[in-house]
Assembly symmetry: C2
Homo-oligomer: 159 residues x 2
C-alpha cells in the first residue's frame, strides 16, 4: 500500500465517528451501530457500550468482532467507490477502576459531549477493540489486506 | 410501533443506498459494505454481489446474514440519535436464468447506473435477503423489535 492509500485510510478512520460492529449472536451474525474513537496509532479502537445492549451480551459470549467504517455516502453516482475499512479482532471490557479510564473519559467527552450521561449510569463501560488485521477498500478494485502493523503505519501519514 | 416510528423506518430504508452486511467468516463476524435495493414491501432486500468478494464466499458456507442500514451521520452533537435498523435473515443467490432477473436488472440500473458493468461480468449475481425480523433504533432509547410482517407494515407508510 503506497502513501496515498495510507493517507486515504487515515482520513477515513479519523473523519468518521460511527462504525458497524459485527458480533456473534447465538452463532449468527449481528451488526449494530457504535460510536468509536481510534487511538492515535490505530492500534486500539475505543467503544463505550451499555451492558443492556445486544452487542454487549454478544461480546460476553464471544469476544470476536468485526468493525467496519464506511465513508459517508455523498450521493455520488457509484456508491461502490466509497472508501471503507473492516477491522477484525477482539473486544475487551475496561474495568472502571482501570488507571487509563480518566484520560480516556476526557478524550471521549471531547469527541462525544452528549455522552456525558453515560458516565452517570452504571451500565456503561469502555471497551477496547484491538485489530488483528484489516481489509481496506479504497475504491472499486482497490482492496488491501493489512496487518495491524500496516494499519498503524497508515496512522503515521496523517497525524 | 406507532405510525410516526413506521414512517421514520420507511424513510431510513428508502433514503440509504448502502448497508453493512454481516456474514460469518470461518465462524467469526465479518462486516462489509454493500449496495442494496429494498422491495416495495420491505419483504426482500436485493444485493448484487461478486463471487470474488469475501462476503460471497462467506454466504456459500452459511446463508445467515445481518444487514444494517444507518442514517447518514450529519455531524449532529450526539451520533447515538442516528436512526438505524438491523435486519436478520438469510441470503439466497438468484440464478441468472431466473425469470425475475430482467425486471430486477432494470430497477437496479435505475438506482445504480454505474453498476452496468456488473451485467457484463460473469462473476456477479443478484442475491435476495429475506428478513426474518428486524431491530429498529429510532433514536436514543427508542428501540423496536419487529417481525417481518411489522417491517412490511412500515413500508405501507411511505410508498
Amino acid at each position: 500500500m503506497n502513501a496515498d492509500a495510507r493517507r486515504s485510510l487515515a482520513r477515513l478512520v479519523r473523519a468518521a465517528r460511527v462504525a458497524s460492529l459485527g458480533t456473534l449472536r447465538w452463532g449468527a451474525p449481528n451488526v449494530s451501530m457504535v460510536a468509536y474513537m481510534p487511538a492515535h496509532d490505530f492500534a486500539t479502537f475505543w467503544l463505550r457500550l451499555s451492558r443492556l445492549a445486544w452487542h454487549t451480551h454478544d461480546l460476553a459470549a464471544d469476544a470476536r468482532v468485526s468493525l467496519a467504517i464506511c465513508e459517508t455516502d455523498d450521493g455520488r453516482e457509484d456508491p461502490q467507490t466509497l472508501a471503507r475499512v473492516t477491522l477484525r479482532g477482539e473486544a475487551v471490557e475496561i474495568a472502571a477502576a482501570d488507571p487509563d479510564t480518566e484520560a480516556l473519559k476526557r478524550t471521549w467527552l471531547e469527541r462525544f459531549p452528549a455522552s456525558a450521561v453515560t458516565f452517570e449510569l452504571a451500565d456503561f463501560a469502555f471497551w477496547r477493540v484491538v485489530p488483528r488485521d484489516a481489509r481496506f477498500v479504497a475504491g472499486l478494485g482497490r482492496t488491501y489486506n493489512l496487518s495491524a502493523a500496516e494499519l498503524s503505519r497508515a496512522a503515521d501519514e496523517s497525524p
